[in-house]
Amino acid sequence: MVLRRDEWLDLARKVDWTPRYVDERELFPEEISGRPWLPREAWRDWNEAYRTTYREYVANQREKDAAVLGVRAALSKPRLFDDLDPGWVQLVKFHNGAVALAEYAGAVAELRMARFGRDSAWRTMATLGALDEIRHTQIPLLIGHDLLAYDGNFDWTHKAFHTNEWVILAARHLFDDMFLAADTIDLAIQLNFVFETGFTSLQFMAMAAMADRAHHHLFEKTVASIQTDEARHSQIGRPVMRALIENGSRDRAQYLIDKMWWRCWRLFLALSGTAMEYLAPVSARTRSFKEFMTEWVTEQFVKNLAEFDLEKPWFWDLFVEELDYAHHSLQLGLYTYRTTLWFDVAMPDRAERDWLNEKYPQWNETYGALWEELERRWEAGGEAGTLSYGLPALCNLCQLPALFIRPGRNTACTLEMGGRRYLFCSEPCRWIFQQETSRFAEHKSVVDRIVAGDAPGKLIDLHQWMGLQAPVETGKDLRRGLDPWRLDPVPKR
């Protein structure tokens, strides 16, 4: 008699055997299985809300891949760029470079849990999660490869994570901390509970909604497909969180949440905030970045915290304040340092400025004059006048420029330790650094490396060091200075 699914699934999920030749501590060493090291009984009730089998997984994934590849085939290569806004193309290039190989790091993290997670159902979920993340690497690589014929910089889909480009160094610093240098308990909280349930819905669902309106149906299908995987394997976080809370590790759980919320916020405002509001065409924008963050990330995450009676991170007020300006400041940094990027960056046109001011009533007062000054400089002295030539101050934790300020508001701070003075963009970055100084202290930012002579100080040599072949690969003004209020229609690339 063939058993029905429900009759064998629980047995298949829970195949925790009793080790005979080693004890459990040797099988699951604390250094990699995580602290606190809890007895086997503490994990016995580990349960995922949505259960699946390998057979179901393969069938579902096959359908999802077929849907993505079907759109790719229907569009056919010669039409991949048809009707795409030039800013949107840059958004995809930015997204692909920053995300594709980060997903591969995610696969390594899931595989660590697949071996060292303390419960077999957890290990099974993580095995499927690893397959997910490999898929999330391969699909952008495939699509990025298709786009190479039209824009050579799409090779940054694969290349970016192998370079010293500064945005990528910042991303890698976070992903190394969150994915690659973490034990399985920290992974489950940081990757699954905070990053995936908190933030990736923003990157994938919001981007999918925008891609639909930008008529980029292949990208829409890809990111929406990825998000369904994320939603499944992100559920690893909850039962691990429950085990921590029930076994006296509430403080550790709260620390991991606080730390990773801030670190993810920093990277997402840099990647998603700027891309959504300065590269996506106005017609594709369904909500502002702040509205997405508030509705899809913040509100949902606060509910998750309440479920476990956890507190909002201690810096919550600063985070909420930054929603109004941090990514706008970063965009000015990206624009004026655009030759150090692998994608082009836009100066907002009149319609975009009106939209920004409608969504952020202080935008024009705070940032409008700075953009107008850049315009005047272009008029007076050409593009060279719109570039920054000095070095930006980089944070020794998030590795991003210390520009989370607006005129009149500055949150940068320093720390003297071991004969070295460290710079931080904000108090939360300094606080995280202080909690784990041995983890972070020896890392050098790009500026530290230049000052120490480990990286070249001349811009042309620095481009080379970052992996950017100037002038072909280096980022440019999206419209090459031919702004739409002077030349209509905007020429397509």
Binding site: S388, L391, L403, C425
Partner: protein, 78 residues
């Protein structure tokens, strides 16, 4: 001695690295920072503070003001 400092001008959006000899004055340091910002033509009196918020004497040298490698200074107009 040459120092590298992190300067934040109140009408700028970005902290900038300033490399300077420490025998220059605090006023010269402030001028160097705002010259790289987006509104150097605005002019006017510049107030310089250290990270703790203490106002630095514009006539003092950078060395005399107590600023050292890796320190923050802030420049406000008016």
């Amino acid at each position: 001695m040459r120092l590298y400092l992190f300067g934040f001008a109140s009408d700028d959006f970005l902290g900038r690295v300033v490399v300077t000899p420490d025998e220059r004055t605090v006023a010269q340091l402030a001028d160097q920072l705002v010259a790289w910002g987006l509104a150097p033509q605005r002019g006017g009196f510049l107030t310089v503070r250290n990270e703790a918020g203490d106002i630095l004497d514009p006539a003092a040298t950078i060395a005399e003001s107590g600023l050292g490698n890796g320190d923050i200074f802030k420049v406000e107009r008016g």
